[in-house]
């Protein structure tokens, strides 16, 4: 809904109409209007886009850094593994949101900084899960066969082991995406996410929060959208995993 919204629903989310402020949901404004009379449905769609953009890019950020670290740690074992994983443990020791707050506090408020903050906290999750699978796979016979054929370690890691980890990475991507959407919503709720007027869903919820008693739609509808956005990737992950596993694909 968030992705196709802008195409089918073309009300300008920035149009201020103070006469029509805090209007309850009606046929014109499905979600009602906000304090400045802006259409909440249009705002929520835009906010959702921003939420999804920040969380997706930040999960890609954690994946791009976390997967190679896990791959190297799992395949190399020994000292390399110890050093990488202890650093990951340090990052993981902080609660995600606290760490993200810290990063934003250091870097300042802004969409890119929110991406870095959320992405950074997600690195160890990818590193850990990839490492654990790589540890298992690198003991398998076909990796021994690859060594017996004279392939170097990078080729073995990237061409032979990584594809066997891909279903786990994809699954983790969707789980992390759901978590990132929540973290992003929390950050924006605290005013540390995307700055106004390009507010994400969490920001709109925060705006509407004081009006919960007399204009319930202001915070509730964007909140429901967050819930839907968190559920979506989880279902997507299940579907993708089934699709990408060659053993579940019918043989031709």
């Amino acid at each position: 809904m968030i992705t196709i919204g802008p195409i089918v629903y073309t009300v300008n989310p920035f149009t201020v109409n103070t006469i029509n402020k805090l209007a309850p949901p009606n046929l014109n404004d499905f979600f009602g209007t906000d304090l400045l009379g802006r259409d909440l449905f249009a705002r929520s769609i835009l906010g959702g886009e921003i939420s999804l953009y920040i969380s997706t890019v930040s999960v890609i950020f954690s994946l791009v850094l976390g997967v190679p670290l896990g791959l190297i740690a799992g395949y190399s074992k020994g000292m390399v593994d110890e050093v990488i994983m202890r650093i990951m443990d340090i990052i993981l020791a902080f609660p995600g949101l606290v760490l993200a707050l810290l990063v934003v506090a250091v870097l300042g408020i802004g969409i890119n900084n929110a991406i870095i903050a959320i992405g950074f906290t997600g690195i160890p999750i990818f590193a850990r899960i990839v490492r654990s699978v790589v540890l298992k796979i690198s003991e398998l016979d076909y990796v021994e066969a690859a060594r017996a054929l004279g392939f170097n370690r990078w080729r073995i890691m990237i061409r032979h082991i990584l594809p066997n980890v891909s279903s786990v990475i994809i699954l983790q991507f969707t789980l992390s995406l759901a978590a990132a959407i929540l973290t992003e919503a929390a950050l924006s709720f605290l005013g540390l996410g995307a700055p106004a007027p390009l507010q994400s869903l969490g920001g709109i919820v925060q705006e509407g929060f004081p009006f919960l008693q007399n204009a319930w739609w202001y915070a509730i509808f964007p909140g429901i959208l967050i819930t839907v956005a968190v559920l979506g990737p989880n279902f997507l992950g299940d579907g993708l995993r089934d699709l990408l596993d060659p053993k579940l694909r019918g043989s031709s």
Binding site: L140, D141, F151, R155, P246, S251
Partner: protein
Amino acid sequence: MLLSVKGLTACYETPAGLVRAVEDVNFDLDKDDSLAIVGESGSGKTTLALSITRILKPPGRIMNGQVLFEGRDILTMPENELRQIRGGRVGMIFQQPQAYLNPVLKSGFQIAEVLEIHRGYDRQRAMQEAVRLLKEVGIASPEETVNRYPFELSGGMAQRVIIAMALACSPLLIIADEPTSALDVTVQAQILETIRRLREQRHTSLILITHDLSLAAAACGKIMVMYAGKLVEAGDRESIFKNPKHPYTQLLIASIPKIRSSEEFPGIAGSPPNLANPPTGCRFHPRCPHVMDICKNVEPPTISTDAGQRVACHLYK
């Protein structure tokens, strides 16, 4: 001399202590020769095979010895030179073909990759060569097979793909570790015939590792018998079968089932020793029918007989 193994000793580090899986093994292999290494489970055959190309991985460790391949010691060679030899000059065939193919890569790609690495072929040329190799190893529809994933292949086909990978760069030596044990009997015969035919056409040397003496006799000119990590007897196929010297070899040959015979199947009493704590003296002495006092304390030296056999037994001086 293509391959010369000298004093090779390999161990596994276990909580129970060092397990000497291969101890002081010596043998030579000429170009175009074929050698079968025979022994029961746990006699160190596979460890020996993995040690030759140094792919033995922890907890396994090569303690001692030399593996001279074309005069150069594989055990002290830098890793990047070793990679040229693995797959390029020495091909390996394994026991469980399905497990040795990567499940997420198409079989054609896996063959082509070897050619890309060792021969520098581009993808298209490597794929053409993969199709040709599959035809050569006896796959009926190579064009379709290259596009199949390993789980879509039967055991026999998967083993042929492995053979094609091993042969891709025309290696000088092929090490086949129980290549037919996981296959059913008719497929076994076909695979063996394929290996034999390719070896004749390409003049590749072969080391065949097997627990099956009759298979060894069918495929190889020379036979080496191992027991508990040690070489007990080695020689030509004919002399080993007609005139086995070591009591263990004699018992092994007597244990080959004979179809028309109604005799009791003799077998060998007892079981192989625990290599973390091997018997003193000759390792076979607890099971040997000809055991003497000296066998219990003194390790027998390997001596050469007039017929060109080598045997490690106190019966021969």
